[in-house]
């Protein structure tokens, strides 16, 4: 037996040795000398890059290189900014509105509504098949297919570029109940002869059992327990889609619930309701997209649009290959499906790269498309772009240090080692992250009652308390503890937000924006000769947002106020529940620890000492963004909005429109705000109205002497001065609530591999550091392999 065991052990050892020796043979992945491979890694992999259905930025990343837009961002002449240049087009769009007078709703005298785009004549698919203007029309028809209901269909009718009849064709003959009735304030309702209510405009008012309503932020079905026996009544009245038109019976049910658990205002029942929108039957020939020649495409718009925003809206395209697309389409039991853009076989490119292979959750490889016009023109040195799925950051770093990756996004734990590296590049992001607070008195009262005896939450309704939370927060240290690449934020908009896209002016660099910060952080009075700061720049640069002394004073004031107003008893303990999306995210768990420790320390020596406690709910998951609205928690951090970097005017809606607000308590339809316009007069309107006004809607504004006037300064108007003044004023309004406290700006840091060379060191909005188009290489793949080998297989970047 002993001999046998020895033999087995010897055999096992021999096998292990053989494996080890074989492994020493190294990587047999030999690279061609002429190749320039860009190697990157993703921790989330794309799954669907169908131009009509993609949903995530990861999906869009493939799409960005296998397709292109009519226009594209490129460097300006001095290469210190961006400009939009023709990409698939040969020139800027030509205004042909007058050619379409009497058609598509265009009237005599209209301008900027019909645009002719002249296409390049060398556009083609990767297989060489030519792309004609008619292909764009066909692709638009597929995109707007009423049966498909494509996720990206709204790209042709939402936002500032609205193609005539695009939405009508999509919803062909349907009535949809998609608009929250209370989203833009309450409506006056009219009872019809049939007993059902409509709005003044004649739109039907209905309840939908299964869709998230404004009142709950979730569906009525999810909260059916609040309706008791009445829910059965609602179910009996609902049609097959769960829609119930509102009559007296339904209204009474809704009013009973809103009175019982809401604010109890007379029109609050409308927060359960939706209003209808009916669409006529429509043939695709009535949609404003016409191929007037093989290389001429005319788009007809419902609203005039020109200049930067017209080109910007045309920086992507809806083009698909009709043959392949049709092969990928199925309709089973009325359910449409399309697998276009889900694998290498179902993908065809017309961009600078083509998808050579794709293995789900493992790797995809893009190869340069030598038929592409930019490639022919000598751009895109990268011959192959290989993207691997590497979930763990530590593994990505190991790959990077072995020379197998060309960039590595630094993590918090890497910063100490690589922060000072000459290979580290810092990039500001567009988003601002906030601490969002719940100052909804009714919501807090309910949570307070549920939390138990002597637990207080309603002190959050006291503005001084929220101010104190803001001043007690050392944002630099918070970033270090959670995401060290981030920098502190003091305003609503980040440094990358562009307020004048035509000229590329960043909002934060304007005098108005600086004044907002100076006023809000209380340094305005310290500017000037003989004062603390020589000019506003110096004052703004001095802002840290951290003032512990002031915070302590505000905590005391808040306590006194809460006691005086009966919001709190002397023996109460304040308990703030902080929401975390999960228990496994170190960013959020560290953030929670930081906030609770920082505030516990901050109240020492104040009347709230020992009376401020924190709990967490780390089970929120997907409902993170709605947790405040649902009164599930009292505080969220690292919340914010992404996108719209070129349009802060519409981005403002995220903070002022009830559709998007994190804060459920700030009623912007009644919160009035004074703004001085360019005529020198100060006018008053609601915050919500001001927001709509700078996005093109006509509102009524009131001067101090009582006179009123209709006013609008949206994109179609030539009033950029007032528009900008309103934007800055509204930023001040949002900040002044202290419901959304600026925390950090989005930013990232990454190590750049030594094989590649960025075109520009500085990051510029729209063009980055030159992207793949301009990127150069210090070594071919073969030279790089030799270089790495010479370094012993491990590179040093710090």
């Amino acid at each position: 037996m002993r001999k046998m065991l020895k033999r087995v052990l010897v055999l096992a050892l021999a096998a292990a040795m053989t494996l080890s020796l074989a492994a020493c043979g190294g990587d047999d992945n030999k690279k061609d000398d002429a190749k320039y491979t860009y190697n990157t890694a993703l921790s989330v992999f794309p799954t669907n890059w169908n131009p009509h259905q993609n949903q995530t930025t990861t999906d869009a990343e493939i799409l960005d290189y296998i397709s292109e837009g009519f226009y594209a961002f490129d460097y300006n002449e001095t290469e210190d900014g961006y400009k939009l240049v023709p990409q698939m087009a040969t020139q800027d769009p030509v205004d042909v509105t007058k050619d379409y007078v009497g058609k598509y709703g265009i009237a005599e005298g209209d301008t900027a509504k019909a645009w002719k785009i002249v296409l390049r004549d060398d556009l083609c698919w990767e297989d060489g098949t030519a792309i004609k203007a008619e292909d764009f029309v066909t692709s638009a028809k597929l995109l707007l297919d009423p049966v498909a209901g494509n996720y990206r269909a709204d790209s042709l009718y939402s936002g500032s570029m609205v193609i005539v009849n695009a939405k009508n064709y999509l919803y062909n003959g349907k009535t949809v109940y998609a608009t929250d009735m209370a989203a833009n304030g309450y409506h006056e309702v009219v009872k019809g002869a049939d007993g059902y209510y409509t709005t003044k405009d004649g739109n039907e008012v209905a309840v939908k059992l299964n869709d998230a309503c404004y009142f709950f932020g979730a569906s009525i079905a999810d909260y059916s327990n609040y309706f008791g026996d009445s829910y059965a009544t609602l179910e009996s009245l609902a049609d097959a889609e769960g829609v119930i038109k509102v009559n007296d019976e339904v209204m009474n049910i809704l009013k009973a619930v809103s009175t019982a658990i809401g604010y109890g205002t007379p029109d609050e029942w409308q927060e359960f309701c939706f209003i209808s929108e009916s669409f006529p039957e429509m043939d695709f020939s009535e949609v404003g997209l016409i191929a007037t020649a093989d290389n001429e495409l005319v788009i007809v718009l419902e609203k005039p649009l020109e200049g930067f925003y017209l080109l910007y809206n045309l920086t992507s395209s809806w083009l698909v290959n009709e043959d392949l697309y049709t092969k990928c389409t199925t309709v089973t039991d009325g359910v449409y499906n399309n697998t276009y853009g889900t694998s290498a076989e179902t993908t065809i490119s017309y961009g600078p790269y083509k998808l050579a292979s794709f293995q789900a959750d493992k790797q995809y490889v893009l190869e340069r498309n030598d038929k592409h016009h930019d490639v022919k023109d000598g751009y895109y040195m990268t011959t192959t772009w290989q993207v691997d799925y590497v979930a763990e950051a530590s593994t990505r770093l190991e790959y990077f240090l072995k020379g197998d990756l060309d960039s590595y996004g630094l993590q918090a734990e890497d910063m100490a080692t690589y922060q000072q590296s000459e290979h580290t590049y810092f990039t500001d992001g567009e988003s601002t992250y906030f601490v969002a607070l719940n100052p909804s008195k009714s919501g807090l009262e309910k949570a307070q009652a549920a939390a138990g005896e002597n637990i207080n939450k309603t002190i959050l309704t006291v503005k001084e308390f929220r101010q104190a939370l803001s001043f007690a927060l050392n944002r630099d240290e918070f970033a270090l503890a959670t995401m060290p690449t981030l920098s502190p934020a003091f305003g609503v908009f980040s440094n990358l937000i562009i307020s004048d896209p035509e000229n590329g002016t960043a909002y934060r660099t304007t005098e108005e924006a600086k004044k907002v910060l100076a006023d809000f952080w209380g340094v305005s009075n310290e500017i000037g000769d003989g004062k603390l700061y020589a000019d506003i720049d110096e004052a703004v640069n001095s802002i840290t947002g951290y003032n512990l002394e002031k915070a302590k004073q505000l905590f005391n004031e808040a306590y006194d106020k809460a006691i005086a107003e009966g919001l709190m008893d002397a023996d109460d303990v304040v308990e703030i529940k902080i929401g975390l999306p999960s228990a496994t995210s170190s960013t959020y768990t560290n953030g929670y620890e930081f906030l609770s420790n920082c505030y516990t320390e901050a109240v020492k020596g104040t009347k709230l000492e020992g009376k401020l406690t924190f709990t967490k709910d780390d089970t929120i998951g997907n409902a993170f963004s709605d947790a405040l609205k649902a009164n599930q928690v009292d505080l969220l951090f690292y919340v914010g909005w992404n996108g719209a970097a070129l349009d802060p005017y519409s981005l403002m809606e995220a903070y002022t429109s009830p559709n998007y607000q994190y804060d459920p308590a700030w009623d912007t339809s009644t919160a009035m705000w004074d703004i001085k316009l360019s005529d020198g007069v100060t006018y008053t309107a609601s915050v919500l109205d001001w927001t709509y006004c700078m996005n093109g809607e006509k509102i009524t504004i009131k001067a101090a002497d009582g006179t009123t006037k209709e006013f609008s300064c949206g994109t179609a108007d030539e009033n950029p001065v007032d528009r900008f003044a309103i934007l800055a004023a509204l930023e001040g309004a949002v900040l002044s609530t202290y419901d959304m406290i600026p925390l950090t700006g989005d930013a990232s840091a990454a190590l750049k591999g030594m094989q590649i060379k960025y075109y520009k060191e500085d990051y510029i909005f729209g063009v980055g550091r030159g992207g793949l188009k301009y990127m150069k290489y210090n070594y071919t793949d073969a030279e790089w392999a030799d270089y790495v080998s010479e370094q012993g297989g491990k590179l040093v970047y710090n």
Partner: protein, 318 residues
């Protein structure tokens, strides 16, 4: 005959349990609230309309009926609506299964003989230094979570010593040598826990059997120690161990969430958790049905296997 009746009864019960579990899974996942984050300028009706078309707004029992009719009896498990949008869930699942199976089979091939040998050796050397070394290592590998030594394996063997690639190779040439080399770190990381578990179990069982009266009898009948150990002790000690090995086969199909993630194995290990997080109903139900069925089948196979390993155990006997 009794055995056949027993097996048929177990199979019937298995389908009943499967039905109950599927019903519970279906209802519970559908009860989770669906919240679509608001997006700028997004026509949310497109999302609501899709949900309507997919029948998500129908009464739950009706949806359950459709599910059983279409998926369980019709074999159409539907389209992924979140994780792999637009793709057939069965096709995606099947395409990812080979990588998981390969890694786990290699792992079993390595861990079972190694675990058994170490366990036997420790039992034979009970209370000697060899036993102490093995037992200490067993305790270490059982106590330390697999991801810890997965990272260690990756760092030491792949990064520092450069013996293996950091992650599994891409592609589907699962039987190539380079692919084999690329999965060795994952296989080792998966195997350590199993080796330790098996070694501990075998050592305990064999130690007990070696001190039994019948072993003394065997020696007194003139058998050598080796003969007595191999012919009598080992076979008896395998009665509880063998079903444990069979049970491990279930793991072959389910994969490991952490190990697959660390070593880039494009398998099914992460699918189940991701399907719940993303509320991908069709994926969740397919995976629930598949793994429940595999688990229940394995249970029956393990129970029946007792009879073959130890003839004293009779199935279905009163």
């Amino acid at each position: 005959m009794n055995m056949l009746k027993y097996v048929l009864k177990r199979i019937a019960l298995m389908f009943f349990v499967l039905f109950v579990i599927m019903t519970m899974c279906f209802i519970l996942i559908k009860l989770l609230p669906v919240t679509d984050a608001a997006q700028f300028g997004k026509d949310m009706n497109l999302i609501l309309q899709r949900r309507e078309a997919l029948g998500y707004n129908k009464p739950l029992l009706e949806q359950l009926f459709i599910f059983f009719q279409r998926s369980v009896f019709g074999g159409d498990w539907g389209i992924s609506e979140a994780l792999y949008r637009g793709q057939d869930v069965w096709a995606v699942f099947i395409s990812k299964l080979p990588a998981t199976i390969m890694v786990n089979i290699y792992s079993m091939c390595f861990s079972v003989p190694t675990g058994l040998l170490l366990g036997i050796y420790a039992a034979l050397k009970k209370n000697k230094w060899q036993d102490h070394v093995i037992s200490t290592l067993v305790v270490v590998f059982i106590s330390v979570p697999s991801y810890v030594y997965a990272f260690l394996v990756q760092y030491l063997l792949c990064f520092k010593l450069d013996l293996f690639p950091l992650q599994m190779n891409s592609g589907t040439d699962y039987f190539s040598f380079s692919m084999f080399m690329s999965v060795v770190p994952a296989v080792l990381s998966l195997a350590f826990g199993s080796i330790a578990g098996l070694a501990r179990y075998v050592r305990a069982e064999l130690s007990e059997v070696l001190t039994s009266d019948f072993m003394l009898l065997a020696r007194t009948k003139g058998l050598t120690r080796s003969q007595a150990t191999i012919r009598h002790a080992l076979r008896n000690s395998m009665v509880p161990v063998f079903p444990m090995i069979l049970g491990e086969f279930v793991a072959i199909l389910s994969g490991s969430l952490i190990i697959e993630k660390i070593f880039g194995v494009p398998g099914v290990g992460q699918l189940y958790v991701n399907s719940i997080t993303a509320l991908d109903y069709n994926f969740f139900m397919l995976l629930s049905a598949f793994y429940t069925l595999v688990g229940l089948t394995a249970g029956i196979v393990v129970d029946i296997s007792y009879g073959f390993i130890d003839p004293r155990i009779r199935m279905g006997e009163r």
